[in-house]
Symmetry: C2
Subunit: 247 residues, 2 copies
């Protein structure tokens, strides 16, 4: 997993985006993610790719008794400790590839917009299974397969044609081509991993999870009224949310 | 549900396509569908949209003790009785909207490439649930959401741009726009219903099914060697297969 959030230019751009109250995380991703969360009272929660710790803080406010947040980025963990600290929240600077170092069980494993950075999804899901109590839940969001499918190594989007009305047309021939994508996001060379729907769902099932709910997000008219620039989140489903229970 | 298969021009074109041994059903759809079937020995099977009855016949040869095939089209049921009859197979000219008229239980409900013609998916799945024995399976294929999403009311494909190399680019903004599609397939005005992934999966779950496996098909190199014209099945996943178990 690439530690892009410790790249100076990237992190500054990212920080400035997140510091605006109007951003895709606050407007679109967070409300859907929270709608999938069961009551967390007295539960133990692990947050993978916790970033600033906003979700950890939300879990604490919702009554969780212990929350562990891990992130590959030192920048992120520093920000989390500064802005979302609590005696019930424990932050560790650790990549998702090292989940086997965690030696306790959780009722919920959560992850917001981070799984598309992980190369070995099968190993990740297997590690998560080992960290969950019986009847535990994995609830995660990631970029939708109709976003991760594409490669845009520079600002120029090579998988997309735009017509005179501004409508976007996408090349889908790489949708079933699972693997690494090298894209431009603030900087060139951001590495993500594309998996199609069936790969994501089957990997969860093969590791003992039952799928309980799936959501594919769009930026709706209300969101576009607040921020018209999220029109690109209306061209295609942008985030994918999955709630899965360990059998 | 539209009874397109009893339209004379449509049925003649369809028949002539199916009479070729090399067609997308034989080359791509059937092998994947059969790979999802458990052993059918002594089982009772219901086939929804049975068409020519090929799948019913396959189930009989695989040891099923009773197979019921239904189809909205009289043409299809006539062909099925002519070409795939057996003392264990019972064909009825009946649309999938009238499943509540069937008063027995089955171990397996199967359906090959027919669900995208049904308007009320939730009612369909609920009816199937009522026809299944405990631990029964629903195994079906349909056109992939990245096929049903698009509208092409005439031969001209309005949701697609083709570049000078022949690559196809698709407009995805209607992917989350669930509902009726009016397309051209041999004739104008063929009615299908688009549902995105999450709608399909969530409807199954809400009706008590557990998802066991999903497959998204492509025409691979081996298939293109046999029939290069299936290149359009390589531009995007073309068929979706789901194996679901009643809890």
């Amino acid at each position: 997993m690439q530690n892009i959030y410790d790249n100076k230019k990237f992190f500054e751009e990212y920080k400035s985006m997140r510091e605006k109250n109007v951003n895709a995380n606050n407007l679109i991703e967070n409300p859907i993610f929270k709608s999938l969360l069961p009551n967390l009272k007295d539960k133990k929660v692990l947050d993978l790719g916790c970033g600033y710790g906003n979700l950890c803080k939300f879990c604490e406010e919702d009554g969780a008794r212990k929350i562990v947040g891990i992130d590959i980025s030192k920048n992120m963990i520093e920000m989390a400790k500064k802005t979302n600290s609590s005696s019930k929240i424990f932050y560790f600077n650790k990549p998702m590839e090292k989940l086997d170092e965690i030696k306790e069980k959780f009722d919920f494993v959560l992850s917001s917009l981070a799984f598309h950075y992980v190369e070995n999804f099968s190993k990740l899901i297997n590690n998560i299974k080992n960290l969950l109590s019986p009847d535990g839940y994995l609830i995660f969001s990631q970029e939708h397969p109709l976003v991760t499918a594409f490669t845009s190594p520079a600002k120029k989007n090579i998988d997309c044609k735009i017509d005179i009305e501004g409508k976007r047309y996408y090349l889908l021939s790489d949708y079933n081509n699972i693997g690494k994508r090298n894209i431009h996001w603030y900087i060139n060379g951001v590495i993500k991993y594309h998996r199609n729907f069936s790969t994501i769902i089957n990997t969860l099932i093969e590791n003992g999870f039952t799928i309980e709910k799936i959501i594919e997000s769009y930026a709706d008219e209300d969101i576009l009224k607040i921020e018209p620039k999220y029109k690109y989140q209306n061209d295609r489903p942008y985030f994918l949310f999955i709630k899965a229970k360990l059998k």
